[in-house]
């Protein structure tokens, strides 16, 4: 009997799943028939920073199927639930297809020429009247490498302003400053192979099961094979990750600083450290302590870092007894001792993994430093299977925002605008006068929107991101954008968002496989893909948009390309030679990604490690060679515990924490394009501890009014959800554009990284 098309498809689905699970395919001919007429191409997933490989199936000019890419080393043929949304990223009914220009309260369709003429005139007018620092670009860790590079080159090398920032400032900046201050080079030493090779995993403020499910599955697969594997989840909220961990260690918000110092205290006191490693590879420092919380506009540092001795560091740690840290954190002292010993156990391969709990923290840089301290004290670093590893949330937060360097203070490949040699190198590659690149950073992301509110920035262009939903203390910035007086906001996106609402011009963008692209993931893996389908209507890539503005501003000479993507990549690659070496473009066309440095065609799995990193010489073992000023050593920092910017008090007695859930990604622009009623995770809820609810007479799903010093929101309470708030804490996800929880968040940030703390502010909860 002939099989129907549907039966072929089901057979295909089963066969691909069997193959991905490592089982043999029962009837390959049947499954191949399901693929009839579909052309497959490779691409990294559009969503998070894991960088899973996807095979994209195209038929009749449309994407009709996706597969986990079995040849992709990251995910080995399996995607997480967000893989379902890849089918819908491009095909939502309300996709933006034409430029729109504001006429009064209405957005009116316009041609590209009209829109770009208007934008260019606003840029020219603002630059002429107020100087180049009155115009700004706010980009994204979802920019392709080409798009980020072009924007950086136009703003720093063409217009002559450092007014460029990525939304990665809101999620990865503390990881960057952590890496830079400890190792003088951004990005991790380890890679995802550590998830397979290690046996002890400390998770800090990371709900990996929901936010990095593929990586979490690799770790769980490791535990299924090796019963000695231990997963310890340090958290302030009980999650799906906590349920599957061997231990969940609840601590009070902000006290991770004290806990990590107490772990170091025990390691020192019990002489569990690796003295030889410390002598050879480490220096000690303190400093930059009077830093406040970034709440005042135009903050300046008052002190500089200073070297200290190992004995000074030991003295600094004396205060951080397990008992002291226990009092602050709520973690029993004996548990702190037990976990410090586990960290230092010479028989164990220990890893630390973290995400926003560490990075979105008013002491985000410090807490990143402190986890490195523990790995440096014990020598458990730059070895296969044992490393500290910061995980990322966006597909190219590492590859574009961090490595291309689309921050106000940065240039490509770890270089900074404040260094004259770095500016000279950039000017040489770009073929411009070095004086064109300003030597002072201007605004971090929060300050950029404060400057728009104040009127110091007049023209702001946002690409591939949704700041008017994702910024903290959102009310100020939403109002600021619409204050008039010459302010002009341009938003490039693929769908209407809370940011297009405040725009003067909306530009329709091409997305993902509607254009050629390149992303870099959290393990230094660069991945290339080709355009596979046309963008709808008149939508165009952000790369085209940026180069078109350049042309209209008289900077077209900076972009003399025939095959822009490849030529931009090869130009960018010149910055990386001799350190973060990227491979030639063609190598990425063939490979399922390569981890830099790629030298002589060989990728690097473990940086700073002899036998793995080409820059470490024979006999050196480990060498933190990027930190030249400290003789190739890493820095252990004395970083004290300090309280959060705002803590609960009598008037506002709860901690508010915000974050993500499994079924939605960030502000929901791509995962929330269906009527609320049909969604798997329909709307934001307020997770609350049942004891707190009982005390206040609040029942499950009853509506409550949540108020901070900055705003109010009404949400139903969820007492039985997947995530469980601890007593005195509430949690709200930020994907729901109808419930803007970020209006309540404080816009305090880590003054070293400039990254806001979305995890801690004080609120009150009342029956609505």
């Amino acid at each position: 009997m002939a099989l129907s098309r549907r039966e072929f498809l089901k057979a295909s689905a089963a066969a691909v799943a069997f193959a991905a699970a490592g089982a043999s395919v029962l009837n390959p001919k049947v499954s191949e028939a399901g693929d009839a007429g579909i052309k497959w191409g490779k691409a990294p997933c559009r969503f998070c920073g894991t960088g899973c490989g996807v095979l994209v199936g195209v038929k009749g000019g449309k994407i009709v199927a996706t597969k986990g890419d079995p040849a992709a080393p990251v995910n080995r043929g399996l995607n997480c639930i967000k893989g379902y949304f890849l089918s819908k990223v491009l095909y939502g009914k309300d996709r933006l297809t034409k430029p729109l220009i504001r006429k009064g309260d209405k957005m009116v369709e316009a041609s590209w020429d009209e829109a770009m003429t208007l934008i260019a005139s606003k840029f020219k007018e603002s630059i002429a009247k107020h100087g180049p620092d009155s115009v700004a670009m706010y980009g994204s860790g979802q920019w392709t490498v080409f798009e980020g590079y072009a924007a950086l080159k136009l703003f720093k090398g063409g217009i002559g302003t450092n007014n460029i920032e990525p939304n990665a400032r809101l999620c990865m900046a503390s990881a960057v400053t952590g890496f830079m201050t400890t190792f003088a080079s951004d990005e991790p030493m380890g890679c995802y192979d550590d998830l397979d090779l290690g046996d002890t995993y400390f998770l800090w403020g990371a709900n990996m099961a929901e936010c990095h499910p593929v990586l979490f599955s690799r770790m769980i697969d490791n535990r299924l094979k090796n019963p000695d594997v231990r997963i310890i989840d340090f958290g302030t909220r009980r999650t799906r990750t906590s349920q599957m961990a061997d231990q969940y260690v609840r601590f009070n918000p902000q006290t991770d600083l004290a806990l990590l110092n107490a772990i170091a205290h025990v390691i020192i006191k019990e002489k569990l450290y690796d003295e030889k490693f410390i002598k050879k590879h480490v220096v000690f420092k303190k400093g930059k302590e009077n830093i406040g919380y970034g709440l005042e506009d135009k903050f300046k540092f008052t002190d500089d870092p200073k070297p200290i001795s190992f004995d000074d560091y030991k003295k600094f740690l004396e205060k951080y007894t397990p008992e002291y840290a226990s009092k602050l954190s709520g973690v029993p002292a004996a548990k702190i001792v037990e976990l410090a010993r586990l960290y230092a156990d010479k028989k164990r391969k220990v890893n630390s993994l973290w995400t926003m709990g560490f990075n979105q923290h008013v002491r985000g840089t410090w807490v990143n430093n402190l986890v490195y301290n523990v790995h440096l004290l014990t020598g458990k670093i730059s070895r296969p299977g044992e490393n500290p590893m910061s995980l990322t949330g966006q597909p190219s937060a590492c590859g574009t925002a961090r490595e291309v360097g689309t921050f106000t203070h940065r240039l490509p490949a770890d270089m900074v605008v404040t260094n004259p040699e770095h500016r000279a190198k950039a000017a040489e590659i770009w073929g411009i006068d070095v004086k064109r690149i300003p030597d002072k950073p201007t605004y971090n992301a929060t300050e950029m929107f404060r400057a728009l509110d104040r009127g110091d920035i007049k023209v702001l262009w946002s690409q591939v991101t949704n700041p008017f939903q994702s910024l903290p203390h959102l009310n100020r910035y939403r109002k600021g954008a619409r204050k008039g007086d010459g302010r002009f906001v341009i938003v490039s996106d693929i769908y209407p968002t809370k940011s297009t609402e405040v725009a003067d011009v909306i530009l329709p963008s091409a997305s993902w496989v509607e254009k050629e692209g390149f992303f870099g993931n959290a393990e230094r893996r660069g991945q290339q893909w080709f355009k596979m389908v046309d963008a709808p209507g008149e939508a165009k890539s952000d790369l085209w948009q940026t180069m078109e503005l350049a042309r209209r501003l008289g900077h077209g000479n900076l972009f003399p390309y025939k095959y822009a993507e490849k030529e931009i990549f090869e130009e960018y690659r010149k910055f990386t030679v001799g350190g973060k070496d990227l491979a030639p473009y063609e190598a990425y066309v063939k490979a399922r990604g390569l981890r830099w440095p790629v030298v002589n065609g060989k990728e690097t799995l473990w940086r700073y490690a002899e036998g793995h990193d080409p820059y470490v010489k024979a006999g050196e073992g480990v060498k933190f060679y990027k930190n030249k000023k400290d003789d190739g050593r890493a820095v252990i920092w004395a970083r004290p515990y300090e309280p959060a910017a705002e803590s609960p008090d009598k008037q506002y007695p709860f901690w508010l924490c915000t974050g993500r859930v499994l079924e939605h990604w960030h502000t929901g622009t791509m995962t929330g394009r269906v009527p609320e009623i049909k969604r798997a995770y329909p709307a934001a809820v307020c997770e609350m501890h049942p004891d707190d609810a009982k005390r206040m007479g609040i029942k499950n799903l009853q509506k409550v009014k949540i108020t901070s010093r900055r705003g109010t929101i009404i949400l139903p309470v969820d007492l039985n959800g997947r995530g469980k708030a601890e007593k005195g804490n509430i949690f709200v996800a930020f994907f729901d554009e109808t419930k803007l929880i970020n209006e309540l968040c404080i816009d305090a940030y880590c003054p070293i990284s400039g990254e806001p703390d979305y995890k801690k502010c004080a609120v009150k909860v009342e029956k609505a």
């Binding site: 490592g22 199936g57 986990g68 399996l78 798997a680």
Partner: protein, 77 residues
């Protein structure tokens, strides 16, 4: 109607029990229980959102560690 092939990972020794639990879901067909605590299933639903809803529910089934997507066809949407 979209069709997807998924791999469900279970706690050690629980895959037979999980297989019984998930077979009760409308739109989920178990195609194989593998010896290494994994189950292969095919998901069918009217819309992608209904598929996501089903997979979300599968995540909550007792002894399920993860549900991962291997193949997704949505050509007749």
């Amino acid at each position: 109607m979209p069709v997807s092939g998924v791999v469900i990972s279970c706690l050690v020794g629980c895959s037979e029990a999980v297989s019984g639990r998930i077979a009760a879901f409308d739109g989920v067909e178990v195609h194989g229980v593998l010896p290494d605590n994994q189950i292969v299933a095919v998901i069918e639903a009217d819309t992608v959102d209904a598929e996501v809803k089903l997979v979300s529910q599968l995540h909550e089934v007792e002894d399920v560690v993860s549900v991962r997507l291997a193949y997704h066809n949505f050509e007749d949407l």
